[in-house]
């Protein structure tokens, strides 16, 4: 039991680290397909100088609505609403980037977790109508996840959530995460279908709670 908890903790830590790195490294550093609003590595340094920025922070309502919108969900589940009610107060009430803080990011991750849970549940049985997890076999354990199919999923999320390509750094972080995730699982767990769903749910959560997904 202790070993299992430790493993879960380790997986959660890896997710947090990925999220944090994406927040910092992935702040619009990839070429944009649709929008950049003047984004460049030079501009990210001006974040602390002024609030007159091309970016605005999403508040709680906006963050939830955005998460549902980019994942193509029109109705929020009871679990999502409950999570929203719990996390709502940690979000900012204004649009200043300086209002972003650790509790808000953690709350965004929790909220994203429920939204992604709902998405994975829907897509698992959606067959050809899947929007994100095309090519994913949810009926096998995570040991069968190939880098190729995984990168297809990453590309879908990157385009739908960030509206841009993944940078090399970001791709590497996600690929490393897959390796580390598998390494934390026992051989038996690597064959469990629930672990495949959990893996993709964590990837989805990392996208939805990243810095880029919480601004507009």
């Amino acid at each position: 039991m202790i070993t299992k908890n430790k493993r879960l903790m380790m997986q959660f830590s890896i997710l947090i680290i990925i999220g944090s790195l994406l927040s910092v490294l992935g702040f619009n550093c990839s070429p944009s397909k649709m929008y950049s609003l003047g984004s460049s590595s030079n501009e990210s340094s001006s974040v602390s100088k002024s609030e007159d920025l091309p970016y605005a922070l999403l508040n709680a309502d906006q963050a939830l609505s955005s998460m549902l919108n980019v994942t193509g969900q029109t109705v929020s589940s009871t679990a999502v609403r409950n999570e929203f009610n719990i996390r709502n107060s940690a979000f900012a009430v204004n649009s200043y980037l300086s209002s972003m803080n650790a509790p808000m990011l953690l709350s965004a991750t929790s909220l994203a977790g429920e939204v992604c849970n709902s998405l994975v549940t829907t897509e698992r049985t959606a067959g050809a109508a899947r929007n994100f997890f095309t090519g994913v076999n949810f009926n096998t354990g995570p040991s069968t996840i190939t880098v190729g199919s995984y990168e297809t999923v990453l590309d879908k999320f990157s385009q739908k959530v960030w509206a841009r390509d993944l940078s090399e750094n970001e791709t590497k972080l996600f690929v490393d995460y897959r390796t580390e995730y598998l390494a934390t699982l026992t051989p038996a767990e690597q064959g469990q279908t629930a672990k495949t769903s959990a893996f993709y749910m964590s990837v989805c959560s990392a996208f939805l709670s990243s810095f880029d997904a919480l601004i507009f």
């Binding site: 944009s32 397909k33 649709m34 929008y35 950049s36 609003l37 003047g38 501009e43 609030e51 007159d52 920025l53 091309p54 605005a56 999403l58 508040n59 709680a60 309502d61 906006q62 609505s65 955005s66 919108n69 980019v70 193509g72 109705v75 929020s76 609403r81 709502n88 107060s89 009430v93 649009s95 385009q159 739908k160 959530v161 509206a163 841009r164 997904a213 507009f216």
Partner: protein, 416 residues
């Protein structure tokens, strides 16, 4: 020659690709700012907006963005919620004030009716999805509590779809189930949310203070005028604070002459047991013991011994003491009835008729979608211009959103 043609072709193609990319970026920016949420890059509405922008029809693109449910559910709702309470925060349950704002915007009504309309918005029974439980009793759930509106939000209903305009504002009599027509309707100024926020306890001065604050974007000290007469200042205001009459003349009087001049408008209003009350309605069955024979709430004349020579409110008349000197210029009173009047309806009409009201609404819409701060000197020029344009478009809020979203100053300079 072939090479020249090829080069020309490449140049033209390249320019088109660039233009398309710009249009895509513009479409995404407009859509996200109008709806307040992020969108996936392959959303169908984005493609349509991009095409409109490519054909130099940015206004059409904004109109398309405003058709998305999030425009009402997020952008307009949050803009209104911030104006509806004392804390001025979006972390407020959905209420009748915000419902009216959404309705007036959606139905393309004259924006001045926000302060003058004799109607309210609530969910149409037929538009509530089957299986969704919304409390709909007019008295208990809509007029005397916020249950109806809170349930619309907690059930994530599409506010732009479910709300319907209901003519004739209502107040409850004695108990929550009996209603009577509101004798002094003034749009959101007589909404339950606004009256609860500003008439709870106090002396009804806050109702005036926040009317200036929310609808003219002016704090009361910004319109303070120590040269105006103090004839309307109540008996509860000390004329010798700390034994110093000069202090009253140079500071207290400035704000109180404006607030106390106008507060007669709200003399018959109060908030009690979860509902907005008006003495002429609730007096019918003697529900409220706080009003004297003239219907003036006792709170307007309390602490009468602080300065016995002060003004005693005996009716709901008001006088405008914010229409001299700099105030006349910055507020731009226009309605002939803006020098004096009676009731909240008259007060609301006077406020809605000012140039400042139009400029303030432009500022609020600008803040809601552009989310950037402008230098003071640029603000004045821009909001004056937008306010004038809005008026020429019959005060329709959707037009104002369109004007603001397509204004170059809405965009961060590097994004232009």
């Amino acid at each position: 020659m072939k090479r020249l043609l090829l080069g020309f072709l490449i140049l033209i193609t390249g320019a088109n690709v660039y233009a398309q990319s710009d249009a895509d970026r513009e479409a995404k920016w407009i859509l996200e700012r109008i709806t307040g949420v992020r969108w996936p890059s392959d959303a169908a509405v984005l493609q349509q907006m991009s095409t409109l922008i490519s054909s130099k029809n940015s206004a059409g693109a904004v109109q398309l963005a405003m058709m998305q449910p999030q425009f009402y559910n997020i952008t307009v709702k949050q803009l209104a919620l911030q104006m509806s309470t004392r804390e001025e925060t979006i972390r407020t349950p959905f209420n009748d004030f915000a419902a009216a704002f959404i309705g007036i915007t959606r139905d393309d009504l004259d924006g001045r009716e926000l302060l003058t309309g004799n109607y309210y918005y609530a969910a149409a029974d037929a538009r509530i999805p089957a299986g969704t439980t919304i409390p709909v009793a007019i008295g208990a759930d809509i007029i005397a509590s916020n249950r109806h509106y809170a349930a619309l939000e907690s059930n994530s209903l599409n506010l732009g779809d479910v709300l319907e305009k209901r003519d004739g504002q209502l107040l409850t009599i004695n108990n929550a189930n009996t209603t009577a027509p509101n004798p002094d309707p003034a749009g959101v100024l007589t909404s339950r949310a606004y009256i609860e926020a500003h008439a709870t306890a106090g002396t009804n001065r806050r109702l005036v203070e926040f009317a200036f604050r929310e609808f003219m974007c002016a704090t009361i000290d910004q319109v303070a005028d120590t040269s105006a007469p103090d004839i309307r200042i109540g008996r509860d205001i000390d004329r010798f604070p700390g034994g110093d009459h000069t202090k009253f003349q140079t500071t207290c009087k400035g704000c109180h002459t404006v607030m106390d001049g106008f507060r007669g408008a709200f003399a018959k209003w109060d908030f009690n047991n979860g509902a907005a009350i008006h003495s002429s309605v609730n007096g019918i069955e003697g529900r409220d013991a706080d009003n004297d024979a003239s219907g003036v709430m006792n709170k307007l004349n309390k602490n009468g011994n602080v300065y016995v020579g002060g003004y005693v409110t005996r009716d709901d008349s008001w006088v405008n003491h914010a229409n001299r000197g700099a105030n006349a210029l910055s507020i731009g009173w226009r309605s002939p009835a803006s020098t004096a009047g009676t009731g909240v309806a008259g007060f609301g009409a006077a406020i809605a008729g000012t140039q400042r009201f139009s400029q303030c609404m432009a500022k609020r819409v600008f803040n809601a979608i552009c989310r950037r701060d402008l230098a003071e000197e640029n603000q004045k020029l821009l909001f004056t211009q937008l306010g004038t344009q809005w008026e020429s478009q019959n005060y329709r809020f959707k037009k104002l959103f369109e004007l603001v979203a397509t204004n170059p100053q809405c965009r961060y300079k590097e994004a232009l």
